[in-house]
Amino acid sequence: MVENEILSYEQTNRALKRKRIRGKIGKIAALAFVYLVLIVMYAPLVYITIYSFTNVQTTGSWGGFSLKLYENLFNYAGNQKSQDIWNAARNTLLVAVVSAVISVVLGTLGAIGIHYTRHKWWRNTLEFANQIPIVNAEIVTALSLVILFVSILHMETNFATLVVGHVVLALPYVVLSVLPKLEQMDPSTYEAAMDLGATQTRALFKVVIPDIMPGILSGFLLSITLSLDDYVITTFTKPGEFETISTYVDSAMRKGGLPTQLRAFTAILFSIILLVMIGMYVKSALDVRKQNRKLKGVD
């Protein structure tokens, strides 16, 4: 009876092996699914990149390898469409950086204020208000801002209104990135700094800000990302003649057909993404190695 219940060494070994193999298959299947979805998500960009190397009017037919589209894009003197693309790219980047900087400053201060507030109801109210732009439909945000600017304040939409629109979009995400870092922080370091004679501002900049820097940085990156990706708020709040990449592409598409060199531009953006991706992988691999070395050092 007892002998029946206790598995022999070989049996245990076999069972363990089976379990390990099953686990391995599961892992491969799981990662295969993830990569399959990623491939589908990146496929349109790859598709456009392939067709950026042939000089045809519309994608789908191959006209032989050519770098003509890149030439058109970079020799923009005298080429109105290429100039428009570069103009729009510059505007997009400008709005992204300006709105991200403002969002990060307001959002970091806001998160610190929310974290150190003494009243629970106030904290709840602030967190709820912060949630509104996140869940709100972008077009509602956009229309409400336009009503404020145009109908109530009798302003023309200008660069500032566009930036405000993008800050509304990004600010809540900055707060959400910074808050968890504040919660992880050791609260006594700030007190210690003050006890050692630091002023409040100094303690803030020398102790709190460095501690929550990773959250601030990821908030900044998120702001940039949201701004680069935006269309609806941009088109509602931008001044008339000002085009960003999204509004430019949309209006070109409605007028019937994109300029072919936009494919080359898209390919360049795609390669920037690939570079960033490789950079992130290398950095994380280096981090892992550094950590391993540190662990060995402790031993």
Binding site: L109, L143, S246
Partner: protein, 278 residues
Amino acid sequence: MEAVAVQRTHRRRSNFRGMLVIPFVAFMVFFVLIPLFLILFYAFTDASGRPSLANWADIFTSFEKWKTIGITFAVAITTTAICILIAYPIAFILSNKKFNKNKVLVYVFLLPMWVNFVIRTMALKDMINTMFSSLTANLPFLGLVIGMVYDYLPFAILPLYNQMLKMDKNQIEAAADLGANPFRVFFKVIVPMTVPGIISACTMTFMPTMSSYVIAYHMSNDKIQIIGSLINFYFMSGTGGYNSGAVLSLVMLIIIGFSLVLERLSNNKEDARKGGIW
């Protein structure tokens, strides 16, 4: 005496940091709360500012508008369901140390956003029309849903991923050790723990799907209109159209409010359950 002094300085210190919230509050009041009240005000007034329900009557007595609202819901529900079905396993795999130790993979899902979504939509449209001979012209609904899923999948993955990071892995193991089969573990342990994430992922895909008229326009070859297209139409028709736009915005706001309440309730229940155990 000394203790009181210490307490007083302590309070003053806290106030300093609490004060830092003022610029944030000012910004939120001016550019989030006041504009929302303006939507409310504009929805119930006419172009000259007098109280009126004419805009509601205009919109909700029109068969065309009801059709648009119906189609919008159909598109939004289909898109949200597909997004959750794809995003849930992905978020689970990404957040599980057994499968993925690398946080970089999460960012890889977000990186396409650096190429603006209008360009990505245009690229997607070009690609599927080449692969499936003019799909967006022949099957506008399918084309539209493909476009929406493609653009909003990352928005479904992120909240689910964040929720699953917080998930108590021991409970899953415990359930399995106590003899629950994987299906039971999934439906009885994992899904209940991720309800807040599921609701917020639904909100994050449902709302943009209702408003994203650019995707609707291009991915259905202008054959399907959604609520967002209508709001945009009213916006384009000048300041006189703001009132009608505000009516539709208010309808969307009500849906949003409803989902917010739902999210809050599910979160509270979670907290209450935790509190009950200890």
